[in-house]
Amino acid sequence: MKLTGRYAGLLLLVLSILVAASSLALAQIGPDIPREETLIVDILTGRNPNPRRFNAWAPGTTLDAGIQQLMLDTLWCVEYAQGEILNVVAAAPPMYNDDYTQMTVKLREGLYWSDGVAFTADDLVFTVETLKANPGMNYQAEFDMFVKEVYKTDDYTVVFELKEPNSRFHTYFLNRWGACRIMPKHIWENVDNPMAFDFYPPVSLGQYVLKDVDPGGYWFLWEKREDWERTAVGQLYGEPKPRYVLFHFYGPPERKVIAQSRHELDMCDLTMESLQASWENPGFRTYRKEYPWIVNIDPCITGITFNALVEPFDNKDVRWALALAMDIVDVMALSFDGAGVMGALLVPPTPVYLDWYYEPMEEWLREFTLDIEVDGAPFKPYDPGAAKRLADYAAGRGYDVPDDPAKQREIFGYGWWKYAPEVAAQLLERNGFSRDKDGGWLLPDGTPWKITITSHPNPAHPAYKNSFAIAQQWRRFGIEVEVVTTEQYNTLATYGQFEVSSVWPAYEPWGGHPDMYRTLRMWDSDLHRPVGEVTYGHQGRWSHPDLDVIIDKLEKIGFDDPELIPLAIEGLKITTAEMPSIATFGYPGFVGWDETYWTNYPGAENPYQQPYQHWPNFKFMLPFLEPAGNK
């Protein structure tokens, strides 16, 4: 009997050695796929539970495992590293008539689907008509609302007749992490139920075609088309270098560090901590080769949203007091060890937006006053020295930081609000707030003030760390704060069931175009709903009559009108003075690249392209990568 146990143990041991021995060949990818010809990138949105579904026109299909990067193209695409709009499948920018009721699109010639059928205006017309006729499919509601008629005038020209004037109708086809993609008519015209159709195996309009999928939904392997030049990217930039592109979901950041240490992952998003853990990985590099390492061109801004329909956040003084009770340097130190670009406006502080908005508004910001007096003079909340303070913090942590103030502004941003808890206290006290004997803040009715911050549950998301860092500020100021991380943050925000949330403080602008309509429109008062109802505007439920006027004006001018920027500046002045949300810093992208097999990534020293693998623009990067020569 004694022996049985030993045998079992022995058996287990032998079995494990056997299995281990069979796996000495390390590579994660199979023998038929040469590693040096393969680019392996991470999937942002996780495991795909339905890996053989490529219907990009039904809601819910995973798009960032190759569909939007390699397979389907849109008419135009936002390029935010350079601040421009690229004509992808379209041959030229959209042409509107004078009252914006008709849009004409010129298409590129010589494009072919991966099954050899030519791409023509019929595909676009078919796509719009199919989507319009099938409720539940993406863009059905929009096309139903705006498209009176769509027809081609020749094989490469399509005309949209609109039901009502719309100066921004073309943005439904403008790719900014997604837009209406074009379907191959010759496949879809035979489909009875477009919603249920899986589109597998998919037909591609891009330079790559699907080769293999993981039945478990973790990876997708794409292969370069032999006729890669008969695509939009081929015409624009030429041949892509990798023969294979593998999209692979690795999971939480530590898995990516491990994968990169084994050279099984070339491009991924990390977190501050996992980036620090990656330095020992040979070939590892970050966007910026020196501190603060991060991507500074990501067109999103992080921060805090107040629910303007919930007391006491309906009071502008309270919102300002909470902003002044925050030390931006400490917030950024706690959340990302100072790595970030601070932004006081509700606009992402990327280089192009710094030029478009921060630069022209800086004079105004410096002179801007709150209607409260400190030492007998109106209080000026703007602190142009905040960037320097952050630089000093970073230097104190032992990081290499340039001394030149201009360089510091470029790295850390232009400035932020002063850390002025005493002014914050004044603002609160004049609204009836008081302190108890321990310094804790009491609401005007005398009860202790407790703030709940609703936040993102994923530790890799900037909102997560940011909300804890901000909670620290307010706690130190004497307010009781609880951070609730929940997957339901978005639903709660849309229904207005929150006080303070770390969802995006403002809607993201286009990224590569100065138009701020996309952002400001969300504060339009006619989109507002009471708490408990779904809002279609910004979740903060704040609006202002003066801003409504500006939104109306913006709506009536075109995408390239010279009035765009001056009007948006007027709008931003209102959102600054009213402080509906507190902007903190630009989205810090912690990209990690492995240069063992591929080089010439679009890093800070040569930002020819946006740097992410999950953006549709990824395809424009592939012709510029260089094999490193390692086998």
């Binding site: 339905n50 993406n138 609302m145 403008l174 900014r176 692979h248 898995r255 279609y536």
Partner: protein, 335 residues
């Protein structure tokens, strides 16, 4: 037959009632969540779509409510659910609309069952054998060593064990793959190579589960057997000179098996909920992550499908156990 009438029939009725209650609970609880499935879908569209006109969103909302079958009152939805379930239809997934929930489950189920059945049975067998032996020879040094090892491993949170194994065997000494079910680019055709490949990929997740499982079964079995060893009949047997092996096997382990077999049936039933932490740590395909993402996205039908599968599996396990109980323990009588 009195057994049939007095025991079996009521027991089967109870089985059905329990499933009905379980099904009702898993219908109600998700609907108390603040999550709104349509909103979650809209969020995905907003992330993916360049620009949605707010008025259009209102219209999409209505369409989706209609398509998802969420327009009626809660009672109507509830009856529609049982109506559908009785025909064996779990309905469409919301996130992957209109892909049937069944299709999604079928994609993930084989991975979960393969991994968890193997590790559960393996760790149960090894744990029980070692536990029984360790209890019987409790004064030997090796038995005490085994017990000490199990005592230390048992309380370590599973997440930490899994993560430590991954760091140790895929990072520090990289002999096992980081993630996935099998090698990339390998054609998924049944062959010896594929089986080995799948085993290789399943090894780390299986090892982590087996370590924790074995330690748990070991501890329980050791306790059970050492309690039994003090029973009169075993003492008599020892005095009567019955051989060690025979006492251990025929008297101690067999009697201690009863609760262990019950535990095994329960564990096997619980497999159908998936192993969320294992799947997350090792990026292994399975029902656990599918269920978790369905909870987060408010995909009621998918959530229902997986939890009901689990409910029925556990209930069936418990039922089978109850029915064979009298054959295992003659001391139990059914009145």
């Amino acid at each position: 037959m009195p057994f049939l009438k007095r025991y079996l029939l009521p027991r089967i009725v109870q089985y059905l009632v329990v499933i009905f209650i379980g099904g009702t609970l898993v219908f109600i609880i998700p609907r108390l969540m603040p999550v709104d499935p349509v909103q979650q879908t809209l969020q995905r569209i907003t992330i993916q779509g360049a620009f949605l006109d707010p008025r259009a969103i209102e219209q999409i909302r209505e369409t989706l409510l209609e398509l998802y079958g969420l327009k009626g009152s809660l009672m109507e939805q509830y009856f529609a659910l049982w109506h559908r379930l009785l025909r064996g239809d779990f309905g469409p997934s919301y996130v992957q609309f209109p892909t049937p929930v069944m299709t999604l489950i079928k994609i993930s189920l084989p991975w979960t069952v393969g991994l968890l059945v193997t590790t559960t049975v393996l760790s149960w067998t090894v744990g029980n054998i070692l536990g029984g032996i360790a209890a019987y020879y409790s004064h030997r040094r090796w038995a005490q060593l085994m017990e000490n090892v199990a005592m230390v491993i048992r309380p370590i949170p599973y997440y930490i064990i899994a993560l430590a194994l991954l760091l140790l065997l895929a990072y520090a000494v990289p002999i096992f793959p980081v993630t996935g079910g099998f090698s990339i680019g390998r054609s998924f055709v049944l062959s010896w190579g594929l089986v080995l490949d799948i085993l290789k990929h399943a090894f780390l997740p299986a090892l982590s589960l087996a370590i924790v499982g074995t330690a748990t079964w070991f501890m329980t079995m050791r306790l059970l057997v050492s309690n039994l060893l003090a029973e009169d009949y075993i003492v008599y047997a020892q005095i009567a000179g019955v051989q060690d092996g025979e006492i251990l096997y025929n008297y101690a382990i067999r009697n201690a098996m009863l609760p262990q077999v019950t535990g095994l049936t329960l564990s096997l039933g619980q497999i159908f909920g998936g192993a969320l932490i294992t799947e997350t740590v090792f990026s292994y395909p399975g029902l656990g992550t599918l269920l978790y993402s369905s909870i987060n996205s408010g995909d009621y039908n998918l959530m229902m499908g997986i939890t009901l599968l689990s409910v029925v599996a556990i209930a069936t396990g418990v039922l089978i156990m109850d029915l064979i109980y009298p054959f295992l323990d003659p001391r139990i009588r059914y009145e």
